[in-house]
């Protein structure tokens, strides 16, 4: 199912005429579907390709070699590779909100109607004005932005930055929101196989046959890895046929899941593998109900890394000219895509690998102008091949440069004796050896090891649970890949409890891979690029070395080598080799390149997944939310909660009108407010009181059953953590409330006090926040309303239910809790109704309360009422205030151990000059005071040292008819009656206020007891 279908050369496909644009398409072969033509546009030009093409192969089939301009110098760039390592052929794909810059043409599967544009060119790809950057090259050398644009500083914003932004850069981000969906998902398995080439397939087969749960990830759209690109046979059958068999067997194994178009891009702490599945990127639009991409977190007991290897370019002059291509990519285009990347080729290699391209190019009808092999002695087999094909062999040679305007026209090389020569060619196939794709082995800090045999890094110490097979471990023959894959699959399955002998190893090529080091040809003609995508040359590396940036990590940062979107897949090892040449210390002595996640660029959309817009974070709604919305509530987010802020009525000009009306209604008659969001915790067990005595600053154990007490909780450092109420429902059962925002923190803190500090206590904690629809009914008429709403026979008299008492009542037979406590300073109750009945209770209260003026009020009016009453809340409980600062110092019991008591006694915290809670009112009776303003003595210089405190909460008091505020003020008690300057420099506020008691309303406190 997943393996490529080599289309049968039947009459149907022969009879259809070849699309006229594809002049470089080979007449036969390839894994493309010639029976179907796909039309696409590149820079507006219409072309065709076939299913099975990538954008890169289709462009090459149409003779397009120039596909983009480079980052700094705007040099013409072509297609270097045929895979995820591509540094040059980056295009803008799609348009509008779906426009995606920096897409690797070598990985884009062709689809009907595909639109792509070249990047980083102006006004056109062929004629680029900024190519003059090439002339200004000395300015743009390594570290240019650290030097050139330093001075004068004023020029940075106006001149330098716009210049750099225009001149250097890659594609353009889309201007509007991404219209597609993204998902996140999780996978669990015994054995995760990364890479679906020869090694990975055998590993998956071995583990899958053994009965293990196996996941196989393949980045490509087809299984096979390099087998798709090589003219090889496996088990004496064409590789594609063998692949079909493998795919079919894997599909038949129930425990095996094969995921195509899925890149394992990171190994995270704990061995979790992060992977990106490109679900719909190969389609014009995502199908309905499918995401564009999916971010997988994969939890595997064992990982087999079979990610293959990436061929290395060689650093020589003009090595970036379109037409210079990796030798293995040449074979991909020939064998997989049936595209001839050039008619006159030069092959430049350091060993046997390059010769495979010689053979395949010749078989495809290309003319080989020369093979420049860096080895002084070329093995007999290759020499004979050259002789048989009539190809010129330059043993011990070097390519020095290329010529041509937007594509290679000739290649200059030197032979072993140093004689230079130009030869006409339109393709230069380059092979400097292969770098194992060991990235995942490094993500948890593993250091690669230099392997002299292959002149490349191989995985060093592996992270726990990982095995490596095939080219990823530096074994490049197909036979080795198959054998190691089977071996690692068997080992991984066995480790997971699935013993197996493993499959037979199919017959496959096992030819030697001789190689001499070939990284860099110094002193060539023209710029020699190490990092194509970031335009870093060999001279930049040398400059960095001269300027002292000799460690590999410094080299990277100074030159930006390896820091482009390709993460230096083709650049890092060659860059290190160039540096090693200069240091003379050899590559392992010079440094090690390692890899960090991600292996491949991952879109922000995929990382965010569905958590954007409405699902950015979950919302918490009270049982009364819909009732409130239906009655005109505006909502405010408090943590995750949505709370009714005020209820606008027709004719009210603004929120202040609503808030003033609601607050006055409470003082004059009665109001009802949803306080369901307050944290509620039920504390049960024989030691419940003992735990609460530790957690609260004041004593709880002496609270009588049926009584409620204000509770103050400190942090261990002596500052106030939270406040709330504690109701004792039974000797071994308490109901405590917290502020809305601290509910989670307090629960966690109580659990800490129990499990860590007092593990022997027999006590249980349970969050019951969501069990109750809880409303506050406040105002002189509160009792009358409750008497009308509660089931008959409830005694609410002061004798039966005094201030700070609680009892169980019922409404409509629903067991309900009633707490007599007041935040507003009025006669007030909190009524807790089981959540299922909250909405109906609200309706009943409003109906029975109507004659008494019952008015719903929101958090703003609630705030006004408590500021008028001087109750500390969020602004005062700001993490910087002590109980003493808030006038609550006497609450801290000295008779028992409690959290925070001891450190609250520190000298600085009991300094008489510490700011304490006071009230403020404007001296002129009308100027608004803003929260956050700083307090100064009138006439004092306004600098920090003279600051006396700050305003914690402020509002307009409708009861008093003027603005009021709460503040903390140094030596506050002594300043009552004095004037203070209230300065708000951020918002140009500067008023004078009179210091007063923080209790503005009912200072005797008689009303709640009424």
């Amino acid at each position: 199912m997943n393996a490529p279908q080599r289309p049968a050369a039947g009459p149907a496909s022969l009879s259809r005429p070849e699309a006229p644009t594809q002049r470089w398409r080979l007449k036969q072969g390839g894994l493309i579907d010639r029976g179907q033509a796909l039309s696409f546009r590149f820079d507006g030009r219409r072309m065709t390709g076939h299913p099975g093409d990538t954008l890169a192969s289709a462009l090459l089939a149409n003779g397009v070699h120039l596909v983009g301009r480079s980052f700094k110098y705007h040099r013409p760039r072509g297609i270097l590779s045929a895979g995820p390592e591509e540094p040059n052929a980056l295009v803008e794909l799609r348009g509008g909100a779906r426009r995606e810059p920096n897409t690797r043409a070598t990985q884009v599967e062709l689809f009907e109607g595909l639109e792509a544009r070249s990047q980083n060119r102006w006004p056109s790809l062929r004629f680029d004005l900024a190519a003059v950057n090439g002339l200004a090259a000395p300015l743009l050398a390594a570290g240019f932005y650290y030097k050139t644009f330093m001075w004068p500083a004023a020029f940075w914003e106006k001149l330098y930055e716009p210049f750099i932004r225009r001149a250097a850069g890659l594609g353009r981000a889309p201007g509007s929101a991404d219209p597609d969906q993204y998902e996140r998902s999780h996978l669990h398995c015994d054995v995760l196989v990364v890479g679906g080439g020869a090694a990975g397939l055998m590993a998956a087969l071995a583990a899958g046959r053994a009965g293990a749960r196996v996941v196989l990830l393949e980045e490509d759209c087809a299984l096979g890895g390099r087998l798709l690109s090589e003219s090889e046979s496996v088990d004496d059958r064409p590789a594609a046929e063998w692949l079909n068999g493998m795919a079919a067997e894997l599909a038949s194994l129930p425990g095996v899941r094969v995921m195509l178009r899925t890149s394992a891009f990171g190994l995270l702490d704990g061995g979790v593998v992060a992977a990106l599945e490109r679900v719909s990127d190969h389609l014009p639009l995502p199908p309905p109900h499918l995401p564009r991409q999916r971010y997988w977190k994969i939890f595997a007991r064992r990982v087999v890394l079979a990610a293959g290897a990436i061929e290395r370019p060689v650093v020589f002059g003009g090595n970036d000219r379109p037409g210079v291509m990796l030798a293995g990519a040449v074979r991909s285009y020939l064998n997989r895509y049936a595209v001839l990347p050039g008619r006159r080729a030069v092959v430049f290699c350091g060993g046997d690998e390059g010769w495979r391209s010689v053979a395949d190019l010749a078989a495809s009808g290309a003319r080989i102008e020369a093979v420049v092999d860096a080895r002084p002695e070329v093995p007999q087999a290759q020499a004979q091949l050259a002789a048989r094909l009539g190809v010129r062999l330059v043993a011990g040679g070097r390519v020095l440069g290329t010529q041509g305007r937007s594509r290679v026209a000739s290649v200059r090389f030197a032979d072993a004796q140093g004689r230079e020569e130009d030869v006409g060619a339109d393709l230069l196939a380059v092979s400097g050896g292969w770098n194992p794709s060991l990235h995942l082995s490094c993500h948890l800090g593993g250091r690669p090891r230099w392997d002299e045999r292959i002149h490349a890094f191989v995985p060093g110490d592996l992270p726990p649970g990982m095995g490596v097979a095939g080219a990823a471990g530096g074994q490049f023959t197909t036979h080795a890949a198959l054998a190691e894959g089977a071996r690692e699959g068997v080992a991984a399955a066995r480790d997971c409890g699935f013993p197996t002998n493993g499959p037979d190893i199919p017959r496959a090529e096992d030819a030697p891979r001789e190689l001499v080091p070939l990284f860099h040809v110094p002193h060539g003609r023209g710029k020699a690029f190490v990092d194509y995508q970031h335009d870093v040359t060999d001279k930049d590396v040398a400059l960095a070395h001269r300027e002292g940036f000799r460690s590999v990590e410094h080299l990277k940062r100074y030159t930006t080598l390896g820091m482009a979107t390709d993460q230096g897949k083709t650049a890092n090892v060659t860059g290190l080799a160039v540096m090693a040449n200069i240091t003379g210390l050899g590559i392992p002595g010079t440094g090690t390149t390692t890899a960090r996640p991600p292996w491949t660029p991952v879109s922000i959309g995929a990382i965010a997944g569905p958590h954007r817009g409405k699902r950015f974070r979950p919302a918490r709604r009270t049982p009364l939310h819909d009732w409130e919305a239906a009655h005109g509530a505006s909502f405010v987010e408090v943590g995750l909660w949505y709370r009714a802020q005020w209820y606008a009525r027709p004719g009210e000009a603004g929120w202040r009108d609503s808030v003033d009306r609601e607050a006055l209604a409470v003082r004059a008659g009665a109001g009802v407010c949803d306080v369901s969001t307050l944290g509620k915790i039920e504390v049960t067990g024989p030691d419940a009181a003992a735990l609460l005595d530790l957690a609260y600053a004041n004593s709880i154990s002496n609270l009588a059953v049926g009584r409620v007490r204000y509770g103050l909780m400190l942090r261990e450092d002596g500052f106030v953590m939270d406040d709330g109420t504690v109701a004792r429902l039974a000797p071994d059962r308490f109901f405590v409330t917290t502020t809305t925002v601290n509910a989670g923190k307090v629960m966690q803190h109580l659990e800490f006090c129990h499990q860590v500090l007092r593990p022997h206590l027999d006590v249980s904690l349970l969050s019951v926040t969501d069990a109750w629809a809880q409303v506050s009914i406040a105002g002189p008429n509160a009792r009358k309303i409750l008497e009308a709403a509660l089931d008959p026979g409830t005694d609410l008299s002061n004798a039966a239910l005094p201030h700070m008492a609680c009892t169980e009542v019922s409404i409509g037979g629903v067991p309900t809790r009633l707490y007599r406590l007041s935040f507003s300073g009025e006669l007030a109750y909190e009524l807790g109704v089981p959540a299922d009945y909250g909405e109906a209770t609200m309706g009943l209260l409003m109906e029975r309360g109507a004659p008494f003026g019952l008015t719903p009020y929101g958090t703003e009016a609630l705030g006004v009422l408590r500021i008028e009453k001087g109750h500390p809340a969020g602004g005062e409980l700001n993490g910087q205030t002590t109980a003493r600062d808030l006038g609550l110092g006497k609450m801290v019991s000295q008779r028992k151990d409690c959290i925070g008591r001891r450190l609250a006694e520190r000298p600085a915290l009991i300094d008489p000059m510490r700011p304490v809670l006071v009230g403020l009112k404007p001296a002129d009776g009308s100027a608004p005071i803003r929260a956050g303003s700083h307090l100064y003595a009138p006439g004092a210089e306004t600098h920090t040292a003279n600051g006396l405190g700050y305003v914690t909460s402020a509002c307009f008091s409708p009861t008093l008819g003027h603005p009021i505020a709460l503040a903390v003020l140094a030596d506050g008690a002594a300043r009552v009656g004095q004037r203070i300057r209230v300065l708000d420099p951020v918002r140009n506020g500067d008023v004078e206020a009179e210091v007063c008691s923080p209790v503005f309303v009912d200072p005797e406190g008689g009303r709640p007891r009424g």
């Binding site: 998902e183 996140r184 998902s185 999780h186 996978l187 669990h188 749960r213 309905p288 109900h289 499918l290 977190k297 939890f299 569905p610 958590h611 409405k614 699902r615 974070r617 979950p618 919302a619 918490r620 709604r621 009270t622 049982p623 819909d626 909660w641 039920e682 049960t684 067990g685 024989p686 071994d732 059962r733 027999d762 249980s764 349970l766 969050s767 019951v768 926040t769 969501d770 069990a771 109750w772 709403a789 089931d791 008959p792 409404i811 409509g812 037979g813 629903v814 067991p815 089981p834 959540a835 299922d836 009945y837 909250g838 909405e839 109906a840 209770t841 009943l844």
Partner: protein, 203 residues
Amino acid sequence: MADLAMRTPLAGHLKAGRHGRAEGTPGLHVTERGHLATAAIALRAGQQAALAAALRDGFGLDLPQRPGCAGSGAVELVWNGPGQWLALDSAREGIGRFGFARELAARLGAAASVTDLTGARAVLRLTGPAVRDTLAKLLPVDLHESVFPAGAATLTLASHIGVTLWRPDEAAWDIACYRSFGESLAHAVVEAAAEFGCEVTAG
């Protein structure tokens, strides 16, 4: 005495009907278990055996000692942390549900503290061939049959929401969260199942 109408946690927030892919049989069926009598049981020190015995004798339930669930008739127990369980009763209705916690408390005596949580949790029942693939998009726990068979339970985060997930039997998967998160959880479940087709029925 007033007559109060009850409202389940997800009433009005879980739209009945077909969501997502419209063709073929739906991969996921969702319904609210909105009428459960719910209570929390907290073990008292040294009472493990007494609690297990009381639950066995009183309700025919085997107390799960580790993450898991047990059922007998209309009553279920779901592990909810060390020494804590959720008890559910699907046979009671309306205000009759408040008798469940009282009955539990009476039968368990000093072995446990019982707290009524009726209405405090939003509970969804999920069935259908795409339950695992839907849940995989929401939570990080391995749900393979070999790891999470019928009788299993777990506490975790689903789409950033704390949940309890349990399998009362082979076919059904129940997921519960705090009532206030119910709308967000239901939305996340239905959206995650869009690919498979999702049929919501009124509870």
